[in-house]
């Protein structure tokens, strides 16, 4: 990628300057206590690091990612490949071709994500924006789930499985029960919440009771949820009558999120749920005692325990809530856009949610914006693929490069020669830590 291209002399300097940036690492490793819970300490440090990178860095990361994507787009373009054959004879041909390829792709992406001026009517012109909101809805919800767990320094890689279980529960209520309009919708949403909460609660419980690492358990539960759903879709209770495909019946109209802008648009009330969830997570983390405990446990479990907090219970509760949020993302899928259950109901939202949470720096409003951005990339990617033939996989590349760079602020600073924050400060004295170690 971009890092090896940088001249070496810059690197050690910025690496050194990054040390005061994340003071949690050094002393944490030195302390005798660090041995007992190595992962807890480090995760806290990382979350701190994610939180302390500035918005400017996020923007620059996006820029670099788009450049990387542009390079790939140009490489794959047929005209660029032709022109590169006689690059030394007429270099401007290739440059023009590169510019055209990249511009066309990104313009198509913008048209597909925000506003399409070529559309015949105003309604059609703004449709891409609503499409972005629709795609962003499950990303935001699942991203909130991942972000909330991050704040308690838990890695919830299991959003995928939680989405699947949420969608399964919601769908079952949705196509099996016959209820009056409002009640049915609320019950189905609640069922989705519970389904996700159960699937999130399992790793939380195992972490609290046995110390089983949530990363491993959640990854495994993703697959278990997938196969469980695949199995259910072959049973009489779930499979659509008369169909030999593993798909469920359509949800009752009473159990489907109402469309917000009428039948011409896919945008559904799930987006309001996502907004409400964002406010809820903000309230939970910034205004409630429970959220304070989560953050305390995330920042330093030992200190939280010493202060009388029940660390195990916090782990469990945070995973239950995180799972519930991801379960809501499942309802957005099954009750909003798809309206029936398939094995691929969760697509890759659970994994995208991790990148959303990281880009949003685990803050509720950040997650909302990050979800909208990735929703725009997704929605735009579809249009881009249709119009210019650039595969939508480019979105994955852009997404992952953004997150990698966001997670490594020193790298972005090196690329753009930015001054490190706190460079003027005297380096943190290192003497006390070794001294303590000698005593111990």
């Amino acid at each position: 990628m971009t890092s090896p291209a940088q001249p070496d002399p810059v690197q050690p300097d910025s690496a050194r300057s990054s040390a005061p940036d994340a003071p949690a690492h050094g002393p944490a490793d030195a302390g005798p206590d660090a041995d007992r819970r190595p992962d807890g300490r480090d995760q806290a440090g990382v979350v701190h690091q994610i939180l302390s990178s500035s918005w400017l860095l996020s923007l620059l990361a996006l820029l670099v990612a788009l450049v990387v994507g542009g390079v790939l787009i140009a490489m794959a373009d047929a005209r660029v490949q032709d022109a590169s054959g006689y690059f030394f004879a007429r270099p401007q041909d290739m440059l023009v071709a590169v510019w055209d390829a990249v511009r066309n792709a990104y313009v198509a992406m913008f048209n597909g994500a925000v506003y399409d001026p070529q559309a015949p009517s105003f309604q059609r012109s703004v449709r891409p924006l609503t499409e972005t909101l629709t795609v962003a809805t499950p990303l935001v919800l699942a991203g909130l789930g991942v972000a909330l767990a991050f704040r308690a320094s838990l890695f919830n890689i299991g959003a995928q499985g939680q989405i699947i279980m949420g969608a399964t529960f919601a769908a079952w209520i949705g196509f099996t029960w016959q209820l009056p309009p409002g009640v049915h919708l609320v019950l189905a949403v609640l069922a989705g919440l519970i389904g996700g909460a159960i699937w999130g609660g399992i790793p939380g419980f195992l972490r609290a009771r046995t110390g089983a690492h949530e990363v491993i358990v959640t990854i495994m539960l993703n697959y278990i949820a997938f196969y469980l759903l695949s199995y259910l879709l072959t049973t009489a209770a779930f499979q659509r009558p008369g169909s030999s495909n593993p798909v469920s019946s359509h949800l009752e109209p009473t159990a489907v999120y109402p469309l917000l802008l009428g039948p011409g648009f896919r945008l559904h009330a799930g987006f309001l749920v996502a907004l409400a969830a964002t406010v809820f997570v903000w309230w939970l983390l910034s205004r409630s005692t429970v959220g304070f405990r989560f953050r305390a446990v995330g920042a330093n479990p030992h200190a939280a325990r010493t202060a009388g907090m029940n660390v195990e219970w916090s782990y469990m509760l945070v995973m239950i809530i995180a799972g519930g949020l991801a379960g809501l993302a499942g309802t957005a899928q099954v009750m909003g856009t798809e309206r029936y259950l398939t094995a691929g109901i969760a697509a890759s939202i659970g994994f995208d949610a991790i990148t959303v949470a990281l880009l949003g720096r685990s803050r509720p409003w950040g997650v909302l914006l990050a979800g909208l951005l990735f929703g725009a990339l997704r929605a735009g990617g579809v249009t881009m693929q249709a119009r210019t033939g650039t595969p939508i996989d480019i979105v994955l590349v852009v997404q992952s490069v953004i997150v990698l760079l966001i997670a490594a602020p020193p790298l972005v600073r090196t690329i753009f020669r930015l001054p490190a924050p706190g460079k003027g400060r005297a380096p943190r004295p290192v003497a006390p830590a070794p001294a303590k170690e000698v005593q111990a």
Binding site: A15, P38, R41, D393
Partner: protein
């Protein structure tokens, strides 16, 4: 990872001191054995299905022809489940005496349980036993490479979630390089390079920049899926003849050894990657637990500061091992394309990297264990395929779930606690 137990320095997996250190005698082992044994007795024997289970062991071109073995289904299941219960009793007695259960018990128990299950599942049908073994090995090969890649990294304290990406990158570059050069061995060399490149990214971000290892691993997987998917759609799929028609590796029969009935053709008539796998397992096991290098590597993974104090370069060791691990996983990735004689397909590793991670954990961070776990997981998947043909009442999805369930049980300590290297997942800086 472990909440209660403080890390014990230098105890390798399976090392005996670990057992005696383990706080009060745990009854989980005997209990689990007892429960599973009773389950086998009730389901496979008492409620068993009548008929004969036939296991055909013949392969074409065998030196000796062995006629298919038919056994009465219920009786066999009864004998085997009683054996299971006997082992459970043995474990209970040993636990009561406060002595550790002998090391051969889990393996024997698993074998007896699986055979009891097989004789129940195949009742009234026939199943090709050699094919079962062949398929098991075939499915296990990438898992073994992936798991050893994972443990190479984790033994130095770097979590490698990017196994999936390394496998996929290896599969991709192996196919492309082999097609472009027309030489399958160029692909075989290119695959580790691709894995190494992913490993290098992992190392730069985690070791140099101190980014959380799990985050980098997850994101690298997405990156590799995106990159290979993009190149697949733009280049490989549009011009397959020039880019994506790799030649396959030939099978090499080892003289004499490959003539052993049943085992011979399965184990000793394979392609080069499989032989490299055997070599990797042996080499990794010896190097990690019997060499100075291995001691240093494990020291870095258990207590980096102590290792640093005695002069081991912690981050250099980590860099080397992460790169080595990446290369090993990349080589395993080659098995998907040139090893199986297939063209590259989008996301063709299909989550195998995560099963490899599970195999590493289930194998308790040792190459031997990883091999056994990978074979077990490969067996579970092959069983699904074989029984799918035979047609038993068990939904195939549940058999696919087995590796993941087993892993959760393993990390949750229901079947003996597995303990990762103590410094796993921590960033190390001297300051």
């Amino acid at each position: 990872m472990s909440v209660a137990a403080p890390p014990q320095l230098g105890t390798g997996p399976g090392a005996s001191p670990a057992a005696s250190d383990r706080a009060p005698t745990s009854w989980k082992g005997p209990l689990t054995y007892g429960l599973l044994g009773t389950l086998a007795l009730v389901v496979f024997a008492v409620l068993g299905r009548p008929g004969t289970s036939t296991f055909s062991v013949a392969t074409p071109g065998d030196l000796f022809h062995i006629s298919p073995v038919g056994v009465p289904s219920r009786l066999t299941a009864l004998v085997l489940s009683l054996l299971c219960l006997g082992l459970a009793a043995l474990a209970a007695v040993r636990t009561r005496q406060g002595r550790p259960t002998p090391g051969w018990v889990p393996g024997t128990f698993a074998a007896a349980f699986v055979l009891a299950f097989l004789s129940w599942a195949v009742a009234g049908e026939s199943i090709p036993f050699t094919g079962l073994l062949q398929g098991t090995l075939f499915l296990a090969v990438p898992l073994v490479f992936g798991a050893i890649s994972g443990l190479m990294c984790e033994r130095t304290g770097v979590i490698n979630i990017a196994i999936e990406g390394q496998l996929l990158a290896g599969a991709f570059l192996a196919a492309v390089a082999a097609t472009l050069s027309g030489n399958v061995y160029v692909g075989l060399v290119a695959a580790p390079v691709a894995g190494l490149a992913v490993g290098l990214l992992l190392a730069i971000f985690t070791i140099t920049y101190g980014v959380n290892q799990i985050i980098v691993g997850v994101v690298l997987n997405v990156l590799v899926i995106g990159l290979t998917g993009f190149l697949y759609s733009t280049v490989l799929a549009t011009d397959a003849a020039n880019w994506n028609q790799p030649p396959g590796l030939r099978r090499i029969a080892i003289p004499l050894l490959s003539d052993i009935p049943v085992i011979g053709p399965v184990v000793f008539n394979q392609n080069l990657i499989v032989y490299l796998m055997y070599a990797t397992v042996v080499a990794a096991n010896v190097a990690l637990f019997r060499s100075r290098w291995g001691l240093r590597v494990r020291a870095v993974g258990e207590h980096p500061r102590a290792a640093d104090t005695v002069g081991i370069k912690v981050n250099l060791t980590r860099y080397k091992n992460v790169l080595l691990g990446g290369a090993i996983a990349g080589l395993g990735g080659a098995f998907f394309t040139i090893g199986a004689g297939l063209a590259f397909g989008r996301e063709m590793t299909a989550g195998k990297g995560y099963i490899a991670l599970a195999a590493m954990i289930f194998g308790r961070w040792s190459p031997k264990g990883a091999l056994a776990a990978a074979l077990l997981f490969g067996f579970a998947e092959q069983l699904r395929i074989s029984l799918g043909i035979v047609g038993t009442g068990i939904p195939s999805q549940f058999m696919l779930m087995t590796p993941y369930l087993v892993t959760i049980f393993a990390v949750a300590g229901l079947v003996g606690r597995v303990r990762p290297p103590a410094a796993n997942g921590t960033h190390y800086s001297k300051a």
